[in-house]
Amino acid sequence: MFDMEIFRMIGSGLLETLYMVLVSTAMAYVLGLPLGIALVITDKDGIRPMPFVNRFIGIVVNVLRSVPFLILLITVLPITKKIVGTTIGPNATVVPLVIASAPFVARVVESSLKEVDKGVIEAAQSMGASPWKIVYKVILPEARPSLIVGGTIAVTTILGYSAMAGIVAGGGLGDIAIRYGFYRYQTNIMLVTVALLILIVQILQEIGMKLANIGDRRNG
């Protein structure tokens, strides 16, 4: 049914997808983690309440999250061209992926960090811990299992976005699915790529949950 050519294509599509997703996730966390932390600590009940800063970050995050990914993808093409030099292929797709997922990551991180017991933070304050020390010695370690679960959600969401980038020849499995399955009616190739995407989501989900449980000491 498939010749070597197609196998090779699917194989490199798979690698491209993994590359895009992992690089984008990493970069989204580089931006989103500090933003998420900022959202939590500048909150009115946070350890450094700064209502103005909190509102500002909140609005930026909401605006970016409101734009549908497909539209964002096309809107930022000029920016992508400036940064990467091209608008096609996996490297180019990383740019809109990061722009779209960083605010998402910020919210995921925010909700994880807000789960940390206020009393524990108060205890740290009573010991004379500075806000910075409370962040990296109390809030982040205590939220670790939840952050890992959030990371799993983020990575699978980014995987979904990356597949959409196929519409502008963004590379990866989504690109193949759209080109062969959608434009050329080669349903079997589309099915294979979709099955691979499902498999990746399953594996990432399993790994994420395992990691989260291994690191969690709340249940003894």
Partner: protein, 343 residues
């Protein structure tokens, strides 16, 4: 009696004219109003009040977790409002604090929890581990050093929290409803440990509670907080035997029987202190006057190793006899006061 002999008398915490208001949805809510207090070095000072009286806010003003809206707090002679952030962090290391919900780090071991304040203070890892070991031995759970808090019982968790609060050698330990989540026998164990820490290490302890038992068990002096105000401050003995305010009475004599169906209308509360509790005062009084009295209520307590108690009796109808009976009781060195509304 305990207070003056046990403490050296220097105030370690001094609060003057402290008020705290919170901004609520429908205007400002006053949590504390014009509080002035002195906590002496070496004593165990209790602050008791009903829930919502402002106890927790008051104790948080002592380490500036809450900043007072008005008034001043001095710790060891230093005005907390004048400190820079860094100085405040430094001072907080001299003020340990434990909580009702223990507030341990759930992702750290017991030993890791005790090391935590030392890490913050910049103590090196080895020294911190050694100190944690000592402290866990002191609180009696050295065998659980590698467990996680989720594997411990409530009493054990509070012991870890105590060890953690003591790690930086504080001069004061603030206890915010520290035993309220524990069962009675565990409470007793934790209170014994606190008393032991007070005696052996000379650490001043401030106990916030709504439980009279806790005050009786370990405190030498007590302040009664009633709807944002201090109703009464004094030695536990004084407040137990001669509560002056209605707020104090509500706490000391909570089981108001208010029973009816009795002939006389005048009642008298007689308060016993340690020495006279052994004399059969009431029986002798009845023999002397050849008139019966009705005991409406009696409660005996053990405070600081001495027996204290109070009873409420219904006096005979004859006003003259009633007056003389009260005189008689007073002549025996007891406190007698007429109470209204019993019958």
């Amino acid at each position: 009696m305990g207070s003056d002999t046990m403490s050296s008398g220097n105030p370690i915490i001094r609060i003057e004219g402290l008020s705290k208001t919170f901004q609520g949805v429908s205007g400002d809510i006053s949590a504390l109003e014009d509080i002035s207090l002195e906590i002496r070095e070496g004593e165990i000072f209790g602050i008791i009040g009903m829930s919502g009286a402002g106890k927790s806010t008051l104790v948080r003003c002592m380490n500036f977790l809450e900043k007072p809206t008005k008034g001043k707090v001095w710790f060891n002679g230093r005005d907390l409002s004048q400190l820079t952030k860094k100085e405040l962090y430094q001072i907080r290391r001299s003020i340990g604090m434990i909580f009702q919900q223990f507030n341990l780090l759930m992702q750290r071991t017991v030993a890791g929890n005790v090391c935590f304040p030392l890490e913050i203070a910049g103590v090196d890892k080895k020294a911190a581990a050694k100190r944690a070991e000592e402290l866990l031995t002191l609180v009696g759970i050295s065998d659980r050093a590698d467990s996680y808090p989720s594997q411990l019982s409530g009493g054990q968790r509070q012991r870890v929290a105590i060890a953690r609060a003591l790690a930086t050698n504080p001069r004061v330990l603030l206890c915010d409803e520290a035993t309220s989540a524990l069962d009675p026998s565990t409470t007793r164990g934790v209170l014994t440990l606190l008393r032991d820490i007070n005696r052996r290490l000379g650490i001043t302890i401030v106990v916030i509670t709504h439980q009279m038992k806790v005050i009786e068990e370990i405190c030498s002096r007590v302040a009664i907080l009633d709807s944002s105000h201090i109703a009464e401050v004094g030695s536990v003995e004084d407040i137990f035997t001669r509560p002056k305010t209605s707020a104090a009475r509500r706490l000391v004599f909570p089981e108001d029987p208010s029973m009816g169906k009795l002939s006389g209308t005048r009642c008298c509360r007689i308060v016993f202190n340690g020495n006279s509790a052994l004399e059969p005062v009431i029986a002798e009084m009845v023999l002397e006057f050849r008139q019966v009295v009705n005991i409406l209520f009696a409660d005996m307590k053990n405070i600081d190793g001495k027996a204290f108690g109070h009873i409420v009796i219904q006096l005979p109808d004859s006003g003259m006899v009633a007056d003389r009976m009260m005189e008689y009781v007073r002549s025996k060195g007891l406190t007698a006061e007429e109470v209204e509304g019993y019958v």
